[in-house]
Symmetry: C2
Subunit: 266 residues, 2 copies
């Protein structure tokens, strides 16, 4: 009873193509990592050919389906994942069933890096996708030999910590409208970083998952979405994608200080 649904798909060997995204070829010339679509989004980007080759030797390229469980809170932390396609939610549960999603993972994101000997959270796929899986032990060994990689990881972890602090501010002090506006603005910024125009936002997760991320309920997420729609800030294209009609207003609602970094609404 270790890995439930995961077993059926992960127990094999991976190395089949992803069920959905067609642009991530894991077979190839120099090695799967070399042609990985997520490479520039992840820390692998800092590695040279030699480093990539060594990474390839450790990596197992896996596919997953929606609802597959990648890691389970409390289990021994033996693996480390680098998401290369799809979306994953990372969450913590309380004994009475209350759930808090601590983050969503998209291509380039790490899972299971910052942890002790047991996972402090669970992770479940939101959509089908692919991931590189490493043994944490051998990955650590590799780190010791590739200082660039270790430095990049420290930086990445620092960024995650800064993001967590922003989420703490959101949960501690922001209203429902501010929370959703911040969430949408963040997703838009992420989309921009991944090459999008920052106007169309795709929401692979359900309203309930957004609620569990923002410390709200599905009903409140729904109501606030409606309010943003009515005010002309956003327009729903489908249930799971929308267009930001008024980025400036969205930023204002998000309570952005406009002080420095990510102003500029394009």
């Amino acid at each position: 009873m270790a890995l439930s649904r995961l077993d059926s798909r992960f127990a094999g060997n991976g190395r089949r193509e992803a069920p959905e995204p067609a642009d991530c070829q894991h077979e190839g010339r120099v090695g799967p990592c070399h042609d990985c679509a997520a490479r520039q989004l992840s820390v692998c980007g800092v590695l040279g050919d030699e480093g990539l080759r060594r990474l390839d030797q450790l990596a197992e390229h896996e596919t997953f389906s929606a609802r597959d469980i990648l890691v389970r809170e409390g289990d021994p932390a033996v693996h480390l994942f680098n998401i290369t396609a799809g979306a994953v939610r990372v969450y913590k549960l309380m004994s009475d069933g209350r759930r808090q999603i601590v983050g969503f993972l998209f291509p380039g994101d790490f899972l299971g890096l910052a942890t002790g000997d047991r996972y402090p959270f669970s992770a479940e796929a939101i959509s089908a996708g692919t991931a590189c899986r490493f043994s944490r032990k051998s990955y650590r060994k590799l780190l010791a030999e590739l200082p660039d990689l270790e430095a990049a990881l420290l930086e990445r972890t620092s960024d995650e910590l800064a993001a967590a602090h922003n989420q703490i501010l959101l949960l501690g002090r922001k209203t429902a409208v501010e929370r959703l506006a911040t969430f949408l603005a963040d997703l838009a910024a992420r989309g921009r970083r991944a090459g999008g125009d920052g106007k169309i936002v795709h929401l692979p997760m359900t309203r309930a998952e957004i609620a569990d991320y923002l410390g709200l309920t599905t009903e409140t997420v729904s109501r606030v979405t409606t309010r943003l729609k009515t005010r002309g800030v956003i327009r729903l294209l489908t249930l799971h994608s929308l267009r930001i009609e008024n980025p400036r207003e969205l930023a204002r609602l998000a309570g952005l200080d406009m002080g420095g970094a990510e102003a500029g609404d394009g």
Copy 2:
């Protein structure tokens, strides 16, 4: 107008003894770091004599008073601090004055490690104390030469991230009672790690600061404290120190899963 109160005390050179704790001598034989009371609490613990010597060369040992500002959100992140005595609060502000404290720092804790080129938060001393100050630039250079130190830092940052995730769970899903109970249990655990008995908890911060940490108001913190007192879970010794009378009940109220790590109520 860069560093306000800080200037008057930090602009000099430090190297006077702390105004309050008498057990942290910074003068000494092998170097200040060697005899630092906080050494075993911090990453410096992993270093050998040679590493400590090199660290000493970079460190400036400073004192601070309550209300001194150590870093200001948005300022260029040039320094890195290792708190060696006293307590510091790390916080973020919204433009309308809402405040969220993202963490309290105690001896052994780092400040300004996990950040880009600007501080993403402010930090202000709660009480008088001491800190080692480093230039981030030269510290990074040192890191490249002391792989043990870098690995220790990655681990420390990972721990901070895990703590941030717990705080996210707290702010997103816990009630006021659960929040305060969790806070007190955490402080007790920290005290235990620092050598205390885990029963007496010292609260150097005000009720307002606790509120800003837990996403509540001072009134609610006060009311909930009273309730815990009435229920016999805690006993106030002074305004700023209390005794945990019923650790088991406190843990239960905190919503601890009791699943693994830190059960054991002493």
